[in-house]
């Protein structure tokens, strides 16, 4: 078993659950951060009476300080288990996926958040579903299975995942290689717009940087089985790399137009990258 390092994440908007946790929430309660003054009747806690505010109150009633309560949130991981994710290589995508799952679950559990996992290929199945909660053992077991999985099928099941996620605000990691038509993405993301979505683009660099300079290769699409014979030559290899760069730009543009910023993982999983992603922007 590889060592799991958690990442640090934070939410841009206050979370709503009533359970106390680590994230700034909407509720008032036990916390350090002053939120507002309320009448004593609304919050009958004489220890929190603010005399200065009470004296200044034209209605001459007691004002009590209330504090923002840090509350819990939920992490979901939507994993695309379609055939294209089955690329073998020095860092197989399923292994990266499994590392990411463990790391995300650990990060969530460390701060008391709940973690849920939904895997899908052409459909969503109970086999790859962990409801949000604290199930470290199950997560570990499924991560092990994930690392060994040879995925098949298309990624059309992604559209069924929003139904499995509770309506309360959650942080969702949408992990896929996004090797599908952008219209699927444009149909999926609006269904998740009550949540904070972090698209994680998982690519294997070998599939475009590690192509031969010269020679004949025949590629078979992992998902639909179509084949193409290619005459590799430096100019064409350059074209392929450019196509990937263009695809990256297209994905970025698409996600930004839908209000999220993608996280690209090309060379294996490193939790620092995810931490840096959260530090770089307020979600």
């Amino acid at each position: 078993m590889f060592s799991t390092t958690p990442f640090i994440y934070r939410l841009g908007q206050p979370s709503t659950p009533i359970y106390p946790g680590a994230h700034p929430g909407r509720l008032t309660g036990a916390g350090q951060l002053f939120k507002t003054h309320v009448p004593l009747m609304a919050n009958p806690d004489t220890r929190r009476i603010d005399l200065r505010a009470s004296l200044l109150n034209p209605f001459q009633s007691y004002r009590v300080k209330v504090f923002q309560q840090h509350s819990q949130t939920t992490l979901y991981m939507i994993a695309d288990l379609s055939g294209s994710m089955g690329m073998q290589g020095q860092s197989s995508l399923m292994r990266v996926m499994s590392e990411f799952m463990l790391s995300a679950a650990l990060s969530a559990y460390q701060v008391g958040d709940r973690f849920g996992f939904i895997g899908c290929d052409a459909d969503v199945s109970g086999k790859w579903h962990i409801p949000a909660g604290h199930h470290w053992g199950i997560v570990q077991k499924m991560a092990g299975q994930l690392a060994e999985l040879t995925p098949v099928g298309s990624s059309s099941g992604l559209l069924k995942t929003p139904a499995l996620i509770a309506s309360q605000h959650a942080l969702i990691f949408l992990i896929s290689d996004f090797h599908f038509d952008l219209t699927l993405l444009k149909a999926l993301l609006p269904q998740l717009n009550r949540h904070t979505v972090v698209p994680v683009v998982l690519w294997n660099e070998t599939s475009y940087l590690d192509l031969p300079e010269w020679g004949i290769v025949k590629f078979k699409d992992k998902e639909n089985g179509a084949t193409r014979t290619l005459l590799m030559r430096p100019a064409y290899k350059k074209q392929i790399i450019e196509a990937y760069v263009q695809r990256k730009a297209d994905l970025q543009q698409c996600f930004r137009s839908l209000g999220t910023e993608p996280l690209f993982i090309n060379q294996g999983y490193q939790s620092e990258e995810v931490t840096r992603y959260f530090q770089a922007r307020a979600l």
Partner: protein
């Protein structure tokens, strides 16, 4: 149909030509998403090319196995020339020299060998002619029907080098020479060149038969008379009028008979190889008219060609296979 097969049922194997459409023999490697790869005309061309080569290789092998051949063909041709039948005398006397002796050393040349040498040259000169060769002695000998094949004609002429036979029986030889023209299209001039060193009396029956035959087959007749020294000539006038008959002067009476046939006729009296040469040159000059004839091409086996091309295709496929990059 010009093309035919030895074992046509093997052609059902041509169905195998669909195999390269389904499989190209290149081991496919998994790729996450083909749609992202930019379209490439050269690669498309290559994959079409590989399939075509594969199909061609299988198709050619099957064609080769089924024994493809080109049927015998007749090609219509138009040339300058004639249909010529060389009618050669094979009597004993042809093996003697013009002086009437058996050749003693290399300098002396027998009449038949002189005729052989000069006729060979003649054959080479007449490019578009159809030539046939008949010989006669006591009985006529069928040697070579009218043909364009110079090699065969040379061989036939060379075959007359074998020792000669008995007597001279012109009428039967002539009848055979005329029979060569049967079933031949009437185009171009028909020539019979009679090369002999003597003659024999023609009896009235065969004379009548020959007249009928020549009426049916209008020919040009050339007689190259290889006259031996001291033998009676064509225009000989015997002192005694009683000697003036067919038995005593067969050559003269043969000449008279030929003259009376109402066909273009010319006689050359050659008393030496040079005389023979000039007679043949003369015929060469005279007979050059447009000729319409059919050339026959023999059946051609094409399976070897099929295998050659198939191996070329397979070699090409092998080269392409060696260009394949396989990392898995």
């Amino acid at each position: 149909m010009l093309i035919n097969f030895d074992t046509p049922w093997l052609l059902s194997g041509l169905l195998l030509m669909t195999v390269p459409l389904l499989r190209t023999g290149i081991k496919p490697q998994g790729y996450p998403w083909l749609a992202i790869l930019p379209s490439d005309a050269l690669s498309t061309l290559l994959s079409v090319f590989i399939r075509l080569i594969g199909m061609a290789a299988i198709g050619l092998l099957i064609l080769g196995l089924s024994g493809l051949y080109l049927k015998e063909q007749r090609i219509e041709r138009i040339g300058q020339g004639a249909h010529i039948v060389l009618l050669l005398d094979r009597s004993n006397s042809m093996d003697t020299t013009f002086a009437g002796k058996a050749p003693m050393n290399d300098q002396e040349e027998s009449k038949s060998s002189a005729a052989r040498r000069l006729l060979t040259e003649f054959i080479d000169k007449r490019v578009h002619d159809l030539m046939g060769i008949a010989e006669f002695s006591t009985a006529p000998l069928f040697v070579m029907p009218l043909t364009e094949n110079k090699q065969a004609l040379h061989a036939a002429i060379a075959a007359t080098a074998t020792p000669a036979l008995a007597y001279t029986h012109v009428s039967k030889g002539l009848a055979m020479a005329l029979s060569f023209f049967d079933e031949q299209p009437t185009s171009g001039t028909r020539i019979v060149v009679l090369v002999s060193d003597g003659a024999a009396a023609i009896d009235s029956d065969s004379e009548q038969a020959l007249r009928t035959l020549i009426k049916e087959q209008p020919i040009h007749l050339y007689w190259v008379f290889l006259r031996t020294a001291n033998s009676p000539g064509i225009h000989e006038k015997p002192d005694n009028s009683r000697d003036d008959n067919a038995q005593a002067l067969p050559e003269k009476y043969l000449h008279l008979f030929f003259s009376s046939l109402n066909v273009p006729y010319h006689v050359y009296e050659a008393e030496s190889p040079e005389g023979l040469q000039s007679a043949i040159d003369d015929i060469d000059k005279l007979e050059n008219r447009p000729l319409h004839y059919f050339e026959r091409l023999p059946k051609q086996d094409l399976s070897g060609l099929c295998y050659q091309w198939a191996s070329l295709m397979i070699a090409l496929l092998l080269v392409l296979k060696l260009c394949e990059v396989n990392r898995s």
